[in-house]
């Protein structure tokens, strides 16, 4: 996109944010009564919905049961109206499969699967815009809503690099511009990276800065999500009359 400045001279981005600012995040937990856990998150214009069922008995082949831990099953589907061109297949294509695999990898590391041997935890995410970060954040809230024990929050955020500055939380316009993008899923308390994914060319010397920006943004997301969870628990306990 010629003529579109991703970062102006004064340091403002296309949507008026500063380099390290996140988009507005709104989240709700417990949106579905039927599921064990569910959550809805809006990050700017990106919306993601996550639903968790489990831990329950292994469905399908019993042979897949792991004797010492739970099996985490993640599926991702993207709404057909979400991208610029209408997608013909909401799930089953390679990108959705890959996203499902990555989510599974992230949550297998975070959920304490040893507590539920021979059982299965299903996480279904439906996202608008296909960004990994929103999916992970929504899934974290849903898993917490379901009461499944986790090591820590899993907070994800994307980061980019333009004109020597690292940008946090890329919007669609910034992603489409084609610069380097990094998606990071972090466990905030220990600083461990559950998943790291980067596209497009970035010089090695800048890697540290971008990683740091993404980590900081993920920690900010953690503060927000923490607040959302506490709010939800407070509301629930008021309703229950405690």
């Amino acid at each position: 996109m010629a003529g579109l400045e991703l970062l102006s001279d004064q340091g403002y981005r296309v949507d008026g944010r500063r380099a390290g600012e996140l988009r507005k995040i709104q989240a709700r937990m417990g949106v579905f009564a039927q599921a064990d856990g569910s959550a809805y998150i809006e990050q700017g214009n990106t919306k993601a919905l996550a639903v968790v069922y489990g831990p329950h008995e292994i469905r399908g082949s019993r042979a897949r049961a792991l004797p010492d831990r739970a099996l985490v099953n993640c599926q991702y589907s993207s709404a057909t109206f979400s991208t610029g061109e209408r997608k013909r297949r909401p799930h089953g294509d390679r990108k959705s499969c890959e996203m499902g695999l990555q989510l599974r990898q992230t949550f297998e590391a975070a959920i304490l699967t040893q507590l539920h041997p021979r059982s299965q935890i299903d996480i279904y995410v439906q996202a608008d815009g296909g960004t990994y970060a929103a999916c992970v954040n929504a899934a974290t809230l849903a898993v917490l809503d379901a009461g499944i024990p986790m090591r820590d929050f899993v907070c994800a955020c994307s980061a980019g690099f333009v004109d020597g500055t690292a940008l946090a939380d890329l919007s669609h316009v910034e992603e489409a511009a084609g610069g380097p993008q990094l998606a990071l899923a972090l466990l905030p308390a220990s600083g461990q990276i559950a998943l790291l994914e980067m596209d497009a060319r970035l010089h090695e010397d800048h890697l540290e800065r971008v990683l740091e920006a993404a980590a900081q943004a993920a920690r900010d997301v953690h503060t927000l999500l923490d607040r959302v969870v506490r709010q939800h628990v407070r509301e629930a306990s008021i309703l229950l009359g405690d």
């Binding site: 390679r94 990898q105 084609g178 461990q192 790291l196 497009a200 970035l202 090695e204 540290e208």
Partner: protein, 432 residues
């Protein structure tokens, strides 16, 4: 076929070796295996061997109409296939997870990093563009498919020549290779993937894991870089928890490795070009050496075992001498005897001593007894050398003769009247 599970002792052995900074093939932690690149007769065809992992890459092109939202750019299409000859575990229905992961990684590494100038693939804007298709086939799986596949893809793309096209006004002329020499693709840079395997929750890392090491690893980190030290892709998989400085350290190592590999690739391409120009023979047939043993060949792995000898001597010195072998049979109850160690037999309790003593028969009979005790199966043939074999039926005074046993004895023993079961058994033996 389902993959054979890795035994616990093998897993422990591999992990212990890695803790002591030893690899099974004698490499150092940051060493790559030998990379061999050979080219086929056509342009765009190559085989890359990374140790024993082999990938075949083939590039082809076609004129198609472009995508609607990118009317002036050519199309790149990547496809990696895990052929069934690569490993017994690869079956048409079973590979989906690994296949998706590898394909997406290849796509992101090569397409998103814009290593090929897609604008140069445009012939007529909005109508005709070149579609470049890279097909990679895994021929043998010995670990680290990603690295071998990325090298094969980029080598095949660098080697490929597309037909020349000229546009005059509205007329598009496609020249055959005879009319005009085919034109190479315009490649900006060469992204190469480097894999790091993590063990013991991220404490140890190895570059270029082979198949055994991949089975015991916790997770994999793939960094794709080019020789200008630009990172094209990073992907962590397998659920390992990384720390930021680990990632930074890996990227530095990757930079060094990529520089080496890129040099190798350029040299191989140069060699091939030279051979073709000079009119020499080229192609896969030329790159395979004759009169060489290639299968079931074991090479000595250059592992440092000097400290193992000391440990072995220590163990031997401290070990107790083996217990004496008892060569005389021990008689538990009449009719059953034992040589050597084993499970204590309980036949003496079950059966009364209607059975005659076999001690005169020598050790053979007793050994047979011993074997039968352990297996508890009635065996009719235990490689008996004696030609004289007889059926014996043990008659219990109040029970039916259920147990039929065979014994090889040199001394004949008469026993109960023959019955039908005996006859059956004899037939069976005849069949044997």
């Amino acid at each position: 076929m389902k993959e054979t599970p890795l035994s616990n002792c093998e897993r422990r052995f591999l992990l212990r070796a890695i803790e002591e900074k030893k690899r099974l093939d004698g490499r150092q932690t940051y060493d790559y295996r030998n990379i061999r690149i050979s080219f086929g007769t056509d342009y765009g065809c190559c085989i890359v061997e990374l140790g024993k992992t082999r990938v075949l890459g083939q590039v082809s092109c076609e004129l198609v109409s472009p995508k609607l939202n990118r009317a002036t750019e050519g199309i790149l299409f990547f496809n990696l296939e895990l052929s069934q000859m690569a490993a017994p575990a690869f079956e048409p229905g079973r590979q989906s997870d690994l296949l998706v992961k590898l394909n997406r990684l290849m796509e992101r590494c090569l397409r998103n990093s814009k290593c090929i100038d897609t604008e140069s693939l445009c012939v007529v804007a909005g109508e005709k563009v070149w579609q470049i298709r890279v097909d990679l086939h895994l021929l043998n799986h010995d670990g680290n498919i990603i690295d071998a596949a990325s090298i094969a893809a980029i080598v095949a793309l660098c080697h490929f020549r597309r037909p020349d096209v000229s546009v005059q006004g509205d007329e598009v002329t496609l020249y055959t290779p005879e009319e005009r020499d085919p034109v190479p693709l315009s490649i900006h840079h060469m992204p190469i993937c480097v894999s790091f395997a993590f063990f013991q929750q991220g404490t140890y890392l190895l570059v270029d894991p082979n198949e055994r090491e991949e089975r015991v690893m916790d997770g994999l980190l793939v960094i794709a870089m080019n020789k200008h030290r630009e990172i094209c892709t990073i992907q962590s998989s397998g659920g390992i928890m990384l720390l930021k400085d680990q990632v930074l350290r890996c990227s530095k190592i990757a930079g060094v490795k990529v520089a080496e590999i890129t040099e190798l690739i350029l040299k191989a391409l140069e060699n091939d070009q030279k051979v073709r120009k000079e009119g020499g023979k080229f192609g896969f047939a030329e790159s395979i050496a004759n009169q060489r043993i290639t299968a079931f060949k074991m090479e000595k792995a250059p592992i440092d075992t000097s400290d193992v000898e000391e440990k072995a001597e220590e163990i031997i010195a401290e070990a107790e001498p083996p217990s004496e072998v008892v060569s005389t049979p021990v008689l538990w109850t009449p009719g059953t005897a034992q040589i050597g160690e084993g499970v204590e037999n309980s036949w003496g309790d079950l059966e009364d001593s209607e059975k005659e003593d076999d001690e005169g028969g020598g050790d053979q009979a007793i050994i047979l007894d011993g074997i039968k005790m352990d297996t508890g199966v009635e065996v009719s043939d235990i490689g008996s050398q004696d030609s004289e074999e007889e059926e014996m039926i043990i008659l219990e005074p109040d029970k039916n003769p259920k147990k039929i046993r065979t014994q090889t004895t040199s001394a004949k023993q008469e026993k109960a009247p023959s019955k039908k079961p005996v006859k059956r058994r004899k037939k069976k033996r005849a069949a044997n």
